[in-house]
C-alpha cells in the first residue's frame, strides 16, 4: 500500500510536469486524436510531445514488459496511472491498433525476434498498424477468407483483396489473415502474417463513409512478398490468434460505451443544451431519455468493473467480452442519438466553425459502425447464445 501511494505521488508529479496543458482538454474533433506513425501528422507541438514523453516512459502500453519498451506496470499500478490521467482530464497520448490489437497478440504468440522488432516502435508511436481481416465475401463469416499466401521457399507470395481496412492508407504495417493451406478445413488453413504497407503490390484505396470521412480502405494485394519470419505463431494457426485478437478488439470497442475520461455526462450535455426550469430539464421526454441512458451507462460501467474483479479471483464466465462489446456499442449509439435530439436543428451543421465542422453529426454517424466493426451485434449475440448459454 505504501509503495502504491509513492507510485501515485511520483506519477502525479511526473504528469504535472510532462502533460502539456493543452492536452488536458476534452477531445472534440477527430484531428485531436493522436495516431502516431511514420507519416503521422500532429495537431500541435504539444500533441507530439505528449505522445513522445509517454512513449519514452512506456506508458502508452503501461502493462507491457519493460524489455519491449512497455511500462512494466502491475494491474494495480496501471489502474493508478489511469486514475491519475483521468484526474487531470489527460487526453489519450496515442490511439493505436498496435497497442490494442497486434501487440497483445505478439506478446502471447510471437517469436522473440518479432517482439523485439515490432513492440518498441509501437510503444513509441513510431509505427502505425492496420488490420487486414475482412474481405468482400467474408465479413461476419471471417473464416471464409480467400486471400492466399503461396510458399515460395524463402518467402510467401500473397494475393487477394481486403476491405474495410481502417486507416489502411495511413498505416505503416498490416497484420493480415491469409490462407496458407487451401485444402484444409476453413479455420485450419489460415495464418496471421505481417508486412510493410510500402511493399510493392500493396494498394489501399480509401472508401468514403456516411460520416463524410474516409477512414477505411479496400486494400488490394498483388504478388506481395512476405518474409517467412513475419508469420505470427505457427503456420496455419492463424485462426486461434485471430480469435484471441478479436477478444481484445471487442473489449476495446465495448469500452466506447464507457464515458471517456474528461467527457461530460450526458445529463450535463443536456443541461447545457436545454437549460433548467425550476431545477429540471424543461423537456420531460428528453429528461427521461437522458435518465434511461444514465442508468444503463452506470450499470454497464459497474459491469465492466465487476467482470474485471471476477477475472482477478478466477470467477465468471469466459466470452463476456461478447456481452461487453454488444452492450457497450449499442449504448454508445444510444448516447449519440440522444445527443442529436438534445441539439435539435442545430445538430445538423456539417461544415463551418459553429458546428466545429459537423463534429456532432459526424460522430453520431460514425457510432453506427461500432455495432458492425469487430463483429456485429448479431454475431456477439450468437456467441453469447452458443458459448455462454449453450443454445445450439
Amino acid at each position: 500500500m505504501i509503495d502504491l501511494q509513492s507510485f501515485r505521488d511520483d506519477t502525479r508529479q511526473w504528469l504535472e510536469e510532462n502533460c502539456p496543458t493543452s492536452m488536458r482538454t476534452p477531445v472534440t474533433d477527430t484531428k485531436a486524436v493522436c495516431w502516431g506513425g511514420r507519416n503521422g501528422t500532429f495537431q500541435s507541438v504539444e500533441q507530439k510531445q505528449w505522445m513522445e514523453r509517454m512513449g519514452a516512459r512506456g506508458w502508452t502500453a503501461p502493462m507491457w514488459p519493460k524489455e519491449y519498451g512497455g511500462g512494466g506496470l502491475s494491474k494495480t499500478e496501471a489502474k493508478v496511472l489511469r486514475e491519475e490521467l483521468e484526474r487531470i482530464n489527460a487526453r489519450s497520448p496515442l490511439d493505436s491498433f498496435g497497442v490494442w490489437m497486434i501487440g497483445p497478440a505478439l506478446l502471447a504468440f510471437g517469436s522473440e525476434e518479432l517482439k523485439q522488432q515490432h513492440l518498441p516502435p509501437i510503444v513509441r508511436g513510431e509505427i502505425r498498424w492496420c488490420q487486414g481481416y475482412s474481405e468482400p465475401n467474408s465479413g461476419s463469416d471471417l473464416a471464409a477468407l480467400q486471400s492466399k499466401a503461396v510458399d515460395m521457399g524463402d518467402h510467401y507470395k500473397v494475393n487477394g483483396q481486403k476491405v474495410w481496412t481502417s486507416y489502411g492508407d495511413q498505416a505503416d504495417w498490416m497484420f493480415c489473415l491469409v490462407r496458407t493451406d487451401p485444402d484444409a478445413k476453413k479455420q485450419s488453413g489460415i495464418s496471421l502474417v505481417l508486412f510493410d504497407m510500402e511493399t510493392p503490390g500493396v494498394t489501399p484505396k480509401p472508401i468514403k463513409l456516411i460520416s463524410g470521412s474516409s477512414p477505411f480502405c479496400e486494400t488490394f494485394l498483388e504478388d506481395v512478398r512476405v518474409e517467412k519470419n513475419q508469420v505470427v505463431g505457427e503456420v496455419n494457426q492463424g485462426w486461434t490468434i485471430a480469435k484471441y485478437l478479436l477478444t481484445h478488439e471487442r473489449e476495446m470497442i465495448g469500452g466506447f460505451g464507457l464515458a471517456d475520461a474528461g467527457a461530460q455526462n450526458l445529463w450535463e450535455v443536456a443541461v447545457g443544451a436545454l437549460g433548467l426550469e425550476e431545477g429540471r430539464l424543461s423537456n420531460s421526454f428528453l429528461r427521461q431519455d437522458v435518465t434511461r441512458w444514465e442508468i444503463d451507462a452506470a450499470a454497464f460501467a459497474l459491469t465492466a468493473e465487476r467482470v474485471t474483479d471476477q477475472a482477478k479471483v478466477g470467477q465468471g464466465v469466459g466470452a463476456t467480452s461478447a456481452m461487453l462489446k454488444y452492450y457497450g456499442t449499442e449504448l454508445n449509439k444510444r448516447r449519440y442519438e440522444v445527443m442529436m435530439k438534445l441539439q435539435g436543428t442545430e445538430a445538423m451543421g456539417w461544415e463551418g466553425t459553429a458546428s466545429q465542422d459537423g463534429w456532432l453529426p459526424k460522430t453520431w454517424l460514425r457510432t453506427k459502425g461500432n455495432s458492425i466493426e469487430g463483429g456485429t451485434s448479431e454475431v456477439q449475440l450468437n456467441i453469447i447464445a452458443k458459448n455462454i448459454l449453450g443454445l445450439g
Binding site: N265, V271, V290, Y326, L391
Partner: protein, 377 residues
C-alpha cells in the same frame, strides 16, 4: 471494494440457495395460497434459527452485524422461490428503522427481540397509490399524555401480521415538508387501529390500516419527535436496495427456467432454442441480467460502506431492476408459449410477484425521477 462476494458472503449465498430449494420450493408457496395463509411460521422460525433475522442487527444488540451484502443474498434466493416471510418487514425494515432512529433503550429492547424472532414489525409510510414519503399527511397531535393519531396508511407489508407497527406521521409541518415527521411504535392491537387485509396479485396480502383517535404515550416516539425523516429515508433506501435484490432473484430464476425450457421444448422437429430469433432475445436478456447483478451488488456494498453515494446507486439499482424484471417476466411467459399462461406452470407466477415489488417504495418512474433530481437536472 472489489465487486465480488467475499468467501463468507459466498457461503451464506450457497446456504440460502440450499435452504430455499429444500424447504421453500414453489410448491410450498402454492400450499400457503390454498390455505389462504400469508406465510409459514414454521419456515420463518427456521430462518430465524439460521440467524437470518439477526443479520442486520449489530452485535452489541445481540445480532450478527453481517451487513447488507449478506442479507441481499438471502433476499435474492428467496425471490427465486417466491417465498413470503417477515424477513423484509422485520429483519430489514424494522431492524434498520429502529437502529437509525431509536433511543438507546428502544434499540436494546427491540433489536434483540427482532434478532431472536420474538418480534415482527411493519413499516407504515404511504398514504396513496404512489410512494411519496415527503407527502405524509397523517396527523399525530400532542395530547397531555402523549400523542393522538388519525389517518390512513396504505399498502403496508405485513401490516396485518405484525405485532408492532412503525408509523410515520406528522407532528408538525404539512405534506411536502421533510421537517415535522415523527415515527411511532404502535401496538397493532391498540384501540382505534383497524387493519384491513387486502389479498394481492402475488397471492400474498397487504394491509390498509386506519387510525382513529389512537392514543399513544410519549415514549411511543421512536427517537426524537419531528426528526424522523432522515431515518425514514435511509430505511427506505435500504428497503429499495433489498427489493432490487428480490427482483434480481425473480429475473434470474425466470431466465434460468426459460433457458432450460429452450433446451427441452421441440417444435418443427428441433429444439426451440435453436431458433436464432429466440437465441438473440435470450442473449440480450442475459446481458441485461449481468448489468443487474452489478448494480445490486454495488448498492448493497455502498450501504455496508456508508458510501455517501448510496442513495443515487440505490435508485439506479431499483430503477434498472424494475425494467429488467418486467423484461424478464414478459419474455419468460412468451418463450414458454401457452403453458406460460397456465397456473399449473410456475413460470407464470413470477410476473405476479415482480409487479408489486416494482411498485413498492417507488417504481422505475419514481427512481428515475429521483436519480435525475439528485444529479441536478
Amino acid at each position: 471494494m472489489a465487486l465480488v462476494l467475499s468467501d463468507e458472503q459466498q457461503m451464506l449465498k450457497e446456504s440460502a440457495q440450499g435452504f430455499f430449494t429444500e424447504f421453500a420450493p414453489i410448491s410450498e408457496m402454492r400450499k400457503l395460497r390454498d390455505l389462504d395463509e400469508d406465510y409459514s411460521t414454521g419456515l420463518w422460525q427456521q430462518m430465524v434459527a439460521m440467524g437470518w433475522a439477526a443479520i442486520l442487527v449489530p452485535e452489541a444488540y445481540g445480532g450478527l452485524g453481517f451487513g447488507h451484502v449478506g442479507m441481499g443474498q438471502i433476499v435474492e434466493q428467496s425471490g427465486r422461490k417466491l417465498t413470503a416471510s417477515p424477513l423484509f418487514s422485520t429483519a430489514i425494515l424494522g431492524a434498520s428503522m429502529i437502529q437509525a432512529a431509536g433511543t438507546e433503550g428502544q434499540k436494546s429492547s427491540l433489536l434483540s427481540a427482532i434478532a431472536n424472532g420474538d418480534l415482527t414489525t411493519a413499516l407504515a409510510v404511504d398514504e396513496s397509490a404512489f410512494h411519496a414519503p415527503e407527502q405524509i399527511a397523517m396527523k399525530a397531535e400532542r395530547t397531555s399524555q402523549g400523542y393522538c393519531l388519525n389517518g390512513v396508511k396504505r399498502h403496508v407489508v405485513c401490516g396485518h401480521v405484525a405485532e408492532t407497527l412503525i408509523v410515520a406521521a406528522r407532528t408538525a409541518g404539512c405534506a411536502g415538508d421533510r421537517q415535522g415527521i415523527s415515527l411511532f411504535l404502535v401496538d397493532a392491537g391498540s384501540a382505534g387501529v383497524t387493519v384491513e387485509r387486502v389479498p394481492t396479485v402475488d397471492s400474498r396480502s397487504i394491509a390498509n390500516i386506519s387510525f382513529v383517535d389512537v392514543e399513544l404515550a410519549s415514549d411511543a416516539v421512536l427517537g426524537e419527535p419531528g426528526l424522523g425523516y432522515s431515518a425514514l429515508a435511509s430505511t427506505l433506501d435500504i428497503g429499495n436496495a433489498h427489493l432490487a435484490a428480490e427482483l434480481l432473484g425473480i429475473a434470474s430464476e425466470s431466465f434460468d427456467c426459460t433457458l432450460q425450457y429452450l433446451k427441452e421444448r421441440k417444435q418443427f422437429g428441433v429444439l426451440i432454442g435453436s431458433f436464432q430469433a429466440l437465441q438473440h432475445r435470450a442473449a440480450h436478456w442475459w446481458s441485461e441480467i449481468e448489468l443487474c447483478k452489478s448494480v445490486v451488488l454495488k448498492s448493497l456494498q455502498a450501504l455496508d460502506e456508508g458510501d455517501p453515494n448510496a442513495p443515487a446507486l440505490i435508485s439506479i439499482s431499483k430503477a434498472k431492476l424494475c425494467e429488467i424484471a418486467e423484461l424478464s417476466t414478459n419474455e419468460a411467459i412468451q418463450m414458454h408459449g401457452g403453458v406460460g399462461m397456465t397456473d399449473e406452470y410456475d413460470i407464470g407466477l413470477y410476473i405476479k410477484r415482480a409487479r408489486p415489488v416494482q411498485a413498492l417504495f417507488g417504481d422505475f418512474s419514481y427512481h428515475g425521477h429521483r436519480f435525475a433530481n439528485m444529479a441536478g437536472y
